[in-house]
Structures are given as C-alpha cells and as structure tokens.
C-alpha cells in the first residue's frame, strides 16, 4: 500500500503528464474522483460543473450509481456543492445530523449511507467553475492536511477543464465549459444506447464504454459520440456489447 504522500505525488505527476497531451476531460476527472476516494478516505466523490446559466451538472463521479448521481443533481436546490459554488469557499461539514443547514439534501444523503459531506470550489481568478464534492461514510473529521489535499485536487480539476482542447477557440472559458458539458451529455446518451442494446443497467453500460475506450486508447467522448451516431464498425460494436464478466476492474 503506497503512502499518501506517494499516491498524492503520483496523482499530480499523472495529471501533469496527461494535461500536456490530448486527453478526454471526463476520463481525467473520473480518475481524479477515484483518487479523492483513495486519498481522503471518502466513500464517494464527484465533480460538478456549472453551465453558463449557473446550473450545476455532474461531470464525473467515483461511481456511476444512480442514487449518487441523484444526490449531486438535487444540489441545484440546496447542498454543500451549491454553497461552495455560490460562496467560492470550501464547505466542510462533519455531521449531517439534525444541525444540518440542508433540510432536503441531508436526509437524502444520510439515506444513501453518508454521514458527512464536503465541497471544494473550483476557482479560476474571480470565477467559480464548479465544485469537487466528497461523501464520507463513517464519521471522521477532515483535518487541515485533508482539506489542503482536497483543495489541491479541486485545483487539478480546474486545470483539467481549462486545458481541455476539445474546442477550437480554447481560450474562451464559456466554450470550454460548454465543450466539457457536451462531453458528459454525449456519455449519458451513449450509456442509454448501450444499456438498451446490451440490456444492462446504465452503470454497467458506462463500465463497458470506459473499458472499450481504454483498450483502444481512444477518448471516452469520441467513443460515446460514435456510439450515439452509430458510426462504430460492426466488429467494434460487437466487442463493446460483449463485455459481460470482463469489466470487474473497469472503475479502478
């Protein structure tokens, strides 16, 4: 088991390597979410990005479980993500009990097995792009060094979005955000297509999509777009849809 320092250093080295090359924004952010879980002892984590209208959208999560996606989604009304997004400050909340400031979000989170939540803003100059969110199972207070690590990972997520070259006019923040959001939507659409063709749940469909993209060294968004546009070749489609029992490690 690597020490936290080693894992943290390797996370940022990998990120630096990735960001100088062509990369897929959803894939990199999903990997970051996985590292958050490992580094901070969280049960789950996710990254939300705001669209130009100020609505928060799920960009990546450590797990594609529907109830987790829903917990992020309801934070358009209330919750730590919305508070961190609006204030531009970290929200560290160690107890989702009776004292919680979120009457709808807190019971939903507790019902899903989470006792504490934390949200860290993704800030660039004076704008907040979105938030990185941690869901904790057993109560364990975040110490100062945890908060620093989480905020550093949120900065890593910010850099990833800013460095995304999926758009021609890459210096425009709105275009970059729009491009990242469209990537995520394309992946949701592809999950639906695969789920129907393969008669599996959408989380399994995501695992198939991700594993296929990795095996072929292709960007997740490009594969998702090809699935939605039906431009995958016959043999590729067969391969993508026959992964039952082979995707147990797809999320690692």
């Amino acid at each position: 088991m690597a020490s936290r320092e080693t894992l943290l250093a390797s996370t940022f080295l990998t990120l630096a390597d990735t960001l100088v090359d062509d990369f897929d924004v959803v894939e990199v952010l999903s990997t970051l979410c996985g590292r958050c879980v490992e580094l901070l002892g969280a049960s789950a984590s996710g990254i939300l990005l705001a669209d130009p209208r100020g609505s928060l959208h799920v960009m990546a999560t450590s797990s594609e479980q529907a109830n987790l996606l829903e917990l992020f989604q309801i934070q358009n009304e209330e919750g730590p993500c919305l508070d961190a997004f609006r204030s531009g400050r970290a929200i560290v909340h160690d107890d989702l009990g009776a004292e919680s400031p979120w009457p709808h979000f807190a019971p939903a989170a507790r019902h899903a097995g989470f006792n504490a939540v934390h949200a860290f803003p993704m800030v660039v100059r004076s704008s907040v792009l979105g938030t990185l969110n941690l869901f904790m199972g057993p109560p364990r207070p975040l110490v100062r060094s945890d908060v620093d690590v989480a905020q550093a990972l949120a900065h890593g997520a910010t850099l990833t979005v800013l460095q995304n070259r999926a758009t021609e006019d890459s210096h425009r923040l709105t275009a970059q955000l729009q491009g990242a959001l469209d990537s995520r939507i394309a992946i949701e659409q592809a999950k639906g297509v695969i789920s129907e063709l393969g008669q599996v749940g959408t989380d399994e469909a995501f695992a198939w999509l991700r594993s296929f993209a990795r095996n072929h060294s292709r960007k997740l968004t490009d594969v998702a777009t090809a699935v939605v546009d039906r431009t995958l070749g016959d043999s590729e489609r067969v391969e993508l849809l026959h992964q039952s029992g082979r995707t147990g490690h797809a999320g690692s």
């Binding site: 130009p52 275009a175 659409q189 639906g192 297509v193 939605v228």
Partner: protein, 228 residues
C-alpha cells in the same frame, strides 16, 4: 445573464427565435438550419427574407458557416468577406457582399452528441463575434436548441413558454442525466437519432401532462417502452 432577460416575450417560432437572436447579439440577421446526419437541411428559418439566397447557396455548394459549425461541432466565423486575408468560404463572398453581409459567425445547435443544426449570425459590419458577445452567443445557442426540441415535440405555444423558462431557470428539466440516458435508449427502440428521441420524450411528457424527467425515469426502469 442579460442575454436571457432579453428573450422574454420572444415569439417561439423559428423566425421568432432568429429575430430574437439577432437582436440580442446586435447583429443584422440570424438564421437557423435544422440538418440531418449528413448535413441536408430539413428546415430553415431566418430573421429576414433577404438572407434566404445566401443560406440556400451554402447548401447548394455543400460548404458554409452552418455546415462547418454542424460538422465540426464548433463555433466558426468569417470576419470579413471584403478583407485581404484568405476567405474561409470563397464561394460565398460575392453573394454575401451583394446581400450586404460583411461578416458571419455560426454555432452548432447540439445537446451532447445529438446535433440539431446550426445558428448563423450575419452582420453588415466586419468582425467575428468575440469576447462577451461570443459567450452570449454560446448561451443563446443552448437555449435555442432546447426551444427547438420543444417545437419538434409539437407543444402548444403556452408549453413552449414553459420550456423556455425551463431552459432558463436552473435546473432545466431537460438537463437531467436520466433524460439523456433515456434519449439514448429510445433512439435504439425507435431506430431514430438521439435528438429526435429527445423530442419524442418531450412529446410524451406533453401528452401525459407530466415532466420529461418523469417519462425518462419510466424508460430507464423499463416500465415504459417506445414502439415504432
């Protein structure tokens, strides 16, 4: 966001959306082209009839701002048809200048991998949309896309107003992950593209007096299936 406030009271027709877009972005004219997979126009709208010839020409030539924005899924522009720099679409220059158009910008109308078409903005002054105006144009393209889905779903006027406020007030009903997943499933069930599948979900919600998200949840749970 000023661009959204400016949409209040917009007539929710293709031409109404074009007129509102041109007004909000302070350009002389705007056009919307709804396109099929390989870039064939299925419907076109414009704020001003004088834009029809140049819109028609790009579909005859098979090149132009709307087709490029649609194919590349990116904003594209020609800052000056009368300038000295090489032109992006030389075949359009003569007719553009004859129609009083010096510059043009086009943005894709898309939701994820689903492409509906493109929004093209024409102006008599040189210069591509830049800075805040380009950002506003991106926001506007997102709203126009959602309004077009509602129009394709065949909602009555009052419903279209609701759809537009849905698109404006966070969180837009249509922007839930379940809706995009269900669009993918329905596109397979009906053998149609995912943009049309989204319109079918919307139409079903209108018919049942429920929300598109509720319909999506039923589809995902495999309690509701669409048959061709």
């Amino acid at each position: 966001m000023t661009v959204i406030a400016g949409l209040e009271g917009t007539e929710l027709t293709g031409a109404g959306l074009c007129a509102a877009s041109a007004g909000l972005l302070s350009v002389d004219g705007a056009a919307i082209a709804l396109l099929t997979g390989d870039g064939v126009p299925v419907a076109t709208y414009r704020s001003d009839p004088s834009l029809q010839p140049i819109e028609d020409l790009q579909f005859v030539l098979g090149v132009g701002p709307a087709l490029d924005a649609y194919r590349l899924r990116l904003a594209v522009a020609e800052p000056d048809f009368a300038g000295s720099a090489p032109l992006r679409w030389p075949g359009l220059a003569r007719l553009a200048l004859d129609s009083g158009v010096r510059s043009v910008s086009a943005l894709p109308l898309q939701i994820g991998a689903a492409r509906l078409g493109a929004l093209t903005l024409y102006d008599g002054r040189p210069g591509a949309l830049e800075g805040e105006r380009l950002e506003d144009a991106h926001v506007l393209a997102g709203i126009v896309t959602r309004a077009l889905v509602a129009m394709q779903a065949g909602g009555a006027g009052y419903v279209l107003v609701a759809e537009l406020s849905d698109a404006v007030l966070p969180p837009g009903e249509i922007d839930h992950a379940e809706v995009h997943q269900a669009s993918g499933m329905v596109s397979v069930q009906l053998g149609i593209d995912v943009g049309d599948a989204l319109a079918r979900l919307r139409a079903r919600a209108f018919a049942d007096g429920t929300t598109v998200r509720q319909v999506a949840v039923e589809v995902l749970a495999r309690r509701l299936r669409f048959y061709p």
